[in-house]
C-alpha cells in the first residue's frame, strides 16, 4: 500500500479549541522521543497548562528496532486546568516508524479520530520486507478513523545533520511547537538546559532542527490546537515523582541515601548524586540491595538520617534487614517504587502489587508504618513526614510509590521549605541517669532513642529478642512484652491520624477506595459518574499501616464499597472463582479485615496506569442496571 500523500497546498489551518489534548511521541529506543516529550510537557506547564506526562518504556533495555514491543516515548496530556492522570486516549501521535505506532494502536491507546504524524521513509525503503511491513501496518490502522499524515522526517533532518537518528526528536518538537502554539523561546531554554553538558554547537544544531520542524508544520500541517493557558500566580516546579522524592529527602534533612540500582527507582539516586553533596548529604551505591539497607540502618543507628530506595525485587532481598530495623527500633525510611511482579516481572511498568508484601512481608511479627503518596507533589512532602515518623516512633517507615508517579511529570506549587525539617535527629545531650536502651512506655510502647555517641548512650544492638536494656533475653514474658511494645506504636499512631476525607458526597450507592497513584484517574472517573447522576464517591488512603481511622463509619454510609487498584484480583464469574476462593485486591483484603465490611474490588495489571474510562466502566458494572441513572 502506498504511503498516504501529504497535503499539497495547505488551506488555512483548522483551529481546534479544546480544554485538553493528549499527545504521544513514539520511537525506537534511543531516538530521543522521550526528551522531545519531556521538553514539550515542561514548556506546556511553564506556559500555564495542566500537564501529566507518562513515559512509555519498553520492557527490554535494548529491544530490536522496528518492532511494536520496542515502542519508547512519552504521552503528554495537556489541559486548560490541572491534569491529574494520563487520561483515556491519545489525540495526536508523532511516530518515528509505523511499528511503534501499531503498538499504541493495539493497546487501544489512540482515539478513533486521532491524528497520526508518521515518518514515511519506510514506505520508500529498498527493503521489500520493510515496505511490506509498512503496507500491512497501514492496512491494520485503516480499521479506525485515524488521520494519517506522512512526514519525511529523515529527509528533512538530513538537510542539517548527518545522522538523523540524533535530531529527529527536535524536528518532532518543532512540529508540536507549531501545532500547539508553544513558546519557542521557552523551548529553546529547555533545550539549553537539556544539553547543558554538551557544546554550544550541539545546542545550535538542535535549535536549527527545532525551527526546521516548526516551519515544516507551518507549511504542511493544516491543523492547530489551542488549549487555553492559565499561568499560575504562585511559583511552580515541574518534575517527576522520583525527582520529588529526591528533593523531599534533601528538604527533610536526610543525610544518606544508600541504594543499589533498580528500575524504576534508580533515577532517585541519579538525581541525588548530582545535588546531594551540595547539601551535605551523600549517595552510597552499595554492592547489592542487602548491603544498601544495612548501610542505611548502620548510619541511622549512629545518629544519622538515612534512607534507602528500591523496587520489588530489591525489597525482597532487604527483607531480613527490614526486620532487623524493626526489632532494633532503628529509624529507617524505605522508598519502594513499585513495578510489575512477581520476581523481576515488569521492570519498567507500573503496578501496585507490593502492598501486602510491604506490610506483612517480613518474618516474625514486624509492625511498621506504610504510607503512599497519591500525587507527585505528595512524593516531595511525604519524605518530611516519613522521616519525622520514623524517628518519633523509632521504626521503619515504608513509602510506596510506583512507576507511574516515578516517571510522570507534572507541575505543582513550589514547596515552602522550613528549617525545622532539617533539625538534628536527636538531642545529643548526655543520656539521662538510669535511662535504658528501650525505656518502653507501657501504654504507648514508645521509648526515647539513644545513640552510642552520646555520653551514657552505649548499648549492644541485637536482632535477638531482648529486654529493655537491649540484653538478649529468651524469656517468654520478655518476648511477649517487647512484641506488644513494638506493636502498640501502630495503635498509637492511628490514634493521632484523622479520618480521611471523602471525595464527593459522604453517602451514596458506591464508594471507590484507592491508594497511591490512582487518585487522579479514580476521581476523574467519579466526576464523570456523578455528572451522569450516579451516587458515587471516592476515598484515597495515604496510610496503609496503620490504616486511617473511621473507615467503618465512612463505609456504612454507602451501599457498596469497592477498591480500585493496579494489582491482580479475580473477577467474580471467572472459571472456578467463588466468593470463598476469590483472590481479592490487596487493599480490599486489608479493608475487609479491618472493618468487616464486604469490600469489593476491581484490579487490573495492564502494565500502564489505569484509564478513567476503564474505572468508570467498572463503577457502572457495580451499580444496578449498569449504572444507568
Amino acid at each position: 500500500m502506498p504511503a498516504p500523500s501529504a497535503t499539497a497546498a495547505p488551506a488555512p489551518p483548522k483551529v481546534l479549541r479544546v480544554p485538553e489534548h493528549t499527545v504521544e511521541i513514539v520511537s525506537d529506543s534511543g531516538e530521543g522521543a522521550q526528551k522531545c516529550g519531556q521538553i514539550f510537557g515542561a514548556v506546556s506547564a511553564k506556559m500555564g497548562n495542566g500537564v501529566w506526562t507518562v513515559e512509555l518504556i519498553p520492557a527490554e533495555i535494548q529491544p530490536p528496532p522496528r518492532v511494536p514491543e520496542g515502542a519508547s516515548g512519552n504521552r503528554i496530556r495537556v489541559g486548560e486546568h490541572p491534569v491529574t492522570n494520563w487520561g483515556d486516549r491519545t489525540h495526536l501521535v508523532i511516530a518515528f516508524n509505523e511499528q511503534v505506532l501499531l503498538a499504541r494502536h493495539r493497546v487501544d491507546a489512540l482515539a478513533d479520530d486521532a491524528i497520526l504524524l508518521v515518518e514515511d521513509k519506510w514506505a520508500r525503503s529498498d527493503d521489500p520486507d520493510i515496505v511490506a511491513a509498512w503496507n500491512a501496518a497501514m492496512k491494520e490502522l485503516s480499521g479506525k478513523h485515524y488521520r494519517i499524515v506522512p512526514v519525511a522526517m529523515e529527509d528533512e533532518c538530513l538537510t542539517i545533520v548527518d545522522n538523523p537518528k540524533k535530531g529527529k526528536n527536535m524536528f518532532a518538537l518543532g512540529l508540536l511547537a507549531r501545532i500547539y502554539g508553544r513558546d519557542m523561546e521557552l523551548i529553546k531554554q529547555q533545550i539549553a538546559h537539556a544539553f547543558r553538558k554538551k557544546s554550544e554547537e550541539v545546542y545550535a544544531q538542535n535549535v536549527a532542527l527545532l525551527e526546521l520542524g516548526f516551519h515544516w508544520a507551518e507549511d504542511n500541517i493544516d491543523i492547530r490546537v489551542e488549549i487555553p493557558t492559565h499561568p499560575s500566580t504562585k511559583p511552580q516546579v515541574v518534575m517527576n515523582g522520583n525527582e520529588a522524592i529526591g528533593m523531599g529527602c534533601i528538604a527533610s534533612g536526610m543525610e544518606l541515601c544508600a541504594m543499589y540500582p533498580i528500575t524504576p527507582a534508580t533515577s532517585v539516586s541519579h538525581y541525588l548524586s548530582e545535588v546531594f553533596e551540595k547539601f551535605g548529604g551523600m549517595v552510597h551505591q552499595a554492592e547489592d540491595e542487602i548491603a544498601a539497607v544495612g548501610v542505611a540502618i548502620g548510619a541511622s543507628y549512629a545518629g544519622k538520617v538515612a534512607f534507602t530506595v528500591t523496587s520489588g525485587p530489591g525489597m525482597a532481598l532487604k527483607t531480613e534487614f527490614l526486620g532487623y530495623a524493626i526489632m532494633t527500633e532503628t529509624p529507617l525510611v524505605l522508598v519502594n517504587v513499585q513495578r510489575g511482579g512477581p520476581s523481576t516481572g515488569l521492570p519498567t511498568k507500573v503496578e501496585q502489587s507490593d502492598l501486602l508484601a510491604s506490610i506483612f512481608g517480613q518474618t516474625g511479627d514486624a509492625p511498621h508504618i506504610v504510607m503512599a503518596p497519591a500525587t507527585i507533589e505528595e512524593c516531595f512532602h511525604i519524605m518530611i513526614t516519613a522521616r519525622r515518623l520514623a524517628e518519633t516512633f523509632r521504626t521503619l517507615v515504608m513509602v510506596l510509590t510506583d512507576a507511574n508517579l516515578a516517571t510522570g511529570v507534572t507541575p505543582y506549587d513550589k514547596p515552602t521549605l522550613d528549617e525545622k525539617w532539617q533539625a538534628a535527629p536527636l538531642d545529643l545531650a548526655p543520656v539521662r541517669e538510669g535511662q535504658k536502651a528501650y525505656d518502653w512506655n507501657k501504654e504507648t510502647g514508645l521509648s526515647e532513642r539513644i545513640i552510642p555517641g552520646r555520653p551514657g548512650g552505649m548499648f549492644t544492638l541485637t536482632g535477638l529478642s531482648h529486654d529493655d536494656r537491649s540484653k538478649v533475653a529468651y524469656s517468654s514474658d520478655i518476648h511477649q512484652h517487647s512484641s506488644a511494645m513494638r506493636s502498640r506504636k501502630l495503635a498509637v499512631l492511628q490514634s493521632l491520624l484523622t479520618p480521611p476525607t471523602v471525595y464527593g458526597d459522604e453517602k451514596g450507592d458506591l464508594l471507590v477506595v484507592g491508594w497511591g497513584s490512582t487518585k487522579g484517574a479514580i476521581e476523574e472517573a467519579v466526576d464523570r459518574a456523578r455528572k451522569d447522576g450516579l451516587k458515587v464517591s471516592a476515598l484515597q488512603l495515604r496510610f496503609l499501616s496503620p490504616l486511617e481511622p473511621g473507615l467503618k463509619e465512612i463505609f456504612k454510609k454507602f451501599k457498596k464499597v469497592m477498591t480500585v487498584e493496579i494489582n491482580y484480583s479475580d473477577d467474580m464469574g471467572d472459571p472456578y472463582v467463588t466468593e470463598e476462593n476469590r483472590r481479592r485486591g490487596q487493599l480490599s483484603i486489608l479493608l475487609r479485615n479491618a472493618t468487616l465490611v464486604d469490600v469489593d474490588c476491581w484490579g487490573r495489571v495492564p502494565g500502564e496506569p489505569l484509564r478513567p474510562m476503564s474505572i468508570l466502566e467498572a463503577i457502572r458494572g457495580r451499580l444496578p442496571r449498569g449504572g444507568a441513572a
Binding site: 527533610s252 503518596p373 505528595e378 512532602h381 511525604i382 518530611i384 513526614t385 519525622r388 518519633t392 514547596p415 522550613d418 525545622k420 525539617w421 533539625a423 538531642d427 545529643l428 545531650a429 548526655p430 543520656v431 539521662r432 541517669e433 504507648t444 514508645l446 498509637v492 490514634s495 493521632l496 491520624l497 484523622t498 480521611p500 476525607t501 495515604r542 496510610f543 486511617e548
Partner: protein, 335 residues
C-alpha cells in the same frame, strides 16, 4: 576592624578553627533556646510547631495537637535547672556577641603575654561551661550542687581534654620586647592555635623555645604557611615577626627527627644588641639552638681535591644552615 593588617591576615588564616568554635557555641545556643522555647510554649504553639515539623503531607492526616501532646519537644526540667540554663544562654550570647574580637588579644603595657592569653582564653572558654550546663539541663542531669560552678571563669589550665580539642584560636598582638616565648608553653595542648603579631624590635628566634615533637611552630615575616598552622591537627604556635628575624617552620608530620621536621628559611646573624629585657647573649642562644636543632646529623666528606665538603642535599635549607655553622665556628670547608 583590626588596625594592623597582619591581624586581619592571621584571622583569615584561622578561619576554619574559628568557624568550628563558633559552630559549637551557635549549636549549643540554638538547642538551649529551643529547649526554653519548648518549655514556655502554649499547647497551641506546640501544636503549630509539631505541624510544621511533620510537613504538609501530614496536614490532612495527622492531628498535630495530639501529636504535640504525646511527644513534647523537650523533657521536663526543674526551676533551678531552667535558671541555670538561662544563665548559660546569657554566657553563650555574650561570647557570640564578641564576634572576631573574641579571637584577638593585645598585650598592653604592664601586662604579661601569658596572663593576656590566659584571660582571653578564659573569656572564650566560658562558653564551655555554658555548653555543658545546657547539655546537662536538656538531658535531665543538672544538679546545682555539682554543676553550678561550671559557669565560673575557667582558665586554660582547668580545661579538660575535650575542651582543649575545641579550644578557640587566638591572635595576640605583642611588642617584641614582651615576647617571652616560655609563657606560650602553658597553652601548647589539644588543638590550641596561637598566632602572635609582633610589633617593633623583637628577638630573632623566640619561638625556637616552643619546638617540641608534637607542636607546629612557625616564624614568618610575610604570613606564608599560616594556613598550615590552622589546619594542623594538634597545638600550633606562630609568630608574624619583623623583617630580619629568623624564619622557620617546625612541622611534626615531616619526620621523626627534629632536623627532619625543622625547616629554616632564614637564619639571622647573632644579635649584638639587647631588646627590652632580652640580652644579646640570651637571644643569641635562641639562634644557636635553632641552628643546632636543624643541623643535619652527619656530613658527606668532600671528594678528593674538592674545595669544600658539601652537606647532604646541598640545596636544601638544612645544608645552608650547616654552611652557616661552619662559617660561624671559623671552620669553613676543608681549605
Amino acid at each position: 576592624m583590626p588596625s594592623d593588617p597582619r591581624v586581619a591576615a592571621a584571622l583569615a588564616a584561622l578561619a576554619k578553627p574559628i568557624a568550628e568554635f563558633r559552630a559549637s557555641v551557635h549549636g549549643a545556643l540554638q538547642q538551649a533556646d529551643s529547649f526554653v522555647a519548648a518549655h514556655s510554649a502554649t499547647a497551641t504553639a506546640r501544636a503549630a510547631g509539631a505541624a510544621v515539623g511533620l510537613g504538609k503531607f501530614a496536614d490532612m492526616h495527622i492531628d498535630a495537637g495530639k501529636f504535640a501532646a504525646l511527644f513534647p519537644a523537650s523533657q521536663p526540667a526543674a526551676p533551678d535547672a531552667m535558671a541555670a540554663l538561662e544563665r548559660a544562654i546569657k554566657v553563650l550570647r555574650a561570647v557570640t556577641a564578641q564576634g572576631d574580637a573574641l579571637f584577638v588579644a593585645k598585650v598592653t603595657a604592664g601586662k604579661k603575654l601569658g596572663a593576656t592569653i590566659d584571660a582571653a582564653l578564659a573569656d572564650a572558654g566560658a562558653a564551655f561551661g555554658a555548653i555543658v550546663i545546657a547539655e546537662l539541663v536538656r538531658g535531665g542531669r543538672y544538679n546545682a550542687a555539682d554543676h553550678a560552678r561550671l559557669l565560673d571563669p575557667s582558665e586554660f589550665r582547668a580545661w579538660n581534654r575535650a575542651e582543649r580539642r575545641f579550644a578557640p584560636p587566638l591572635v595576640v598582638e605583642v611588642d617584641g620586647a614582651d615576647l617571652y616565648a616560655g609563657a606560650l608553653l602553658d597553652f601548647v595542648d589539644g588543638r590550641e592555635k596561637i598566632v602572635l603579631v609582633v610589633r617593633g624590635a623583637a628577638p630573632p628566634a623566640p619561638l625556637v623555645r616552643c619546638v617540641t615533637p608534637g607542636t607546629y611552630v612557625l616564624q614568618t615575616v610575610d604570613g606564608a604557611d599560616l594556613e598550615k598552622v590552622a589546619g594542623f591537627e594538634g597545638p600550633a604556635i606562630a609568630a608574624l615577626v619583623p623583617q630580619g628575624a629568623a624564619t622557620f617552620a617546625h612541622n611534626p608530620s615531616a619526620g621523626n627527627e627534629t632536623w627532619q621536621r625543622l625547616s629554616v628559611t632564614f637564619l639571622p646573624p647573632l644579635p649584638t644588641k639587647a631588646v627590652g629585657g632580652f640580652s644579646a647573649w640570651q637571644m643569641g642562644e635562641d639562634v644557636k639552638m635553632l641552628a643546632d636543632l636543624a643541623r643535619t646529623p652527619f656530613a658527606v666528606p668532600g671528594a678528593p681535591g674538592a674545595k669544600s665538603a658539601p652537606a647532604i642535599g646541598a640545596n636544601d635549607a638544612v645544608d645552608r644552615l650547616a654552611s652557616w655553622l661552619l662559617d660561624a665556628s671559623g671552620v669553613s670547608g676543608t681549605n
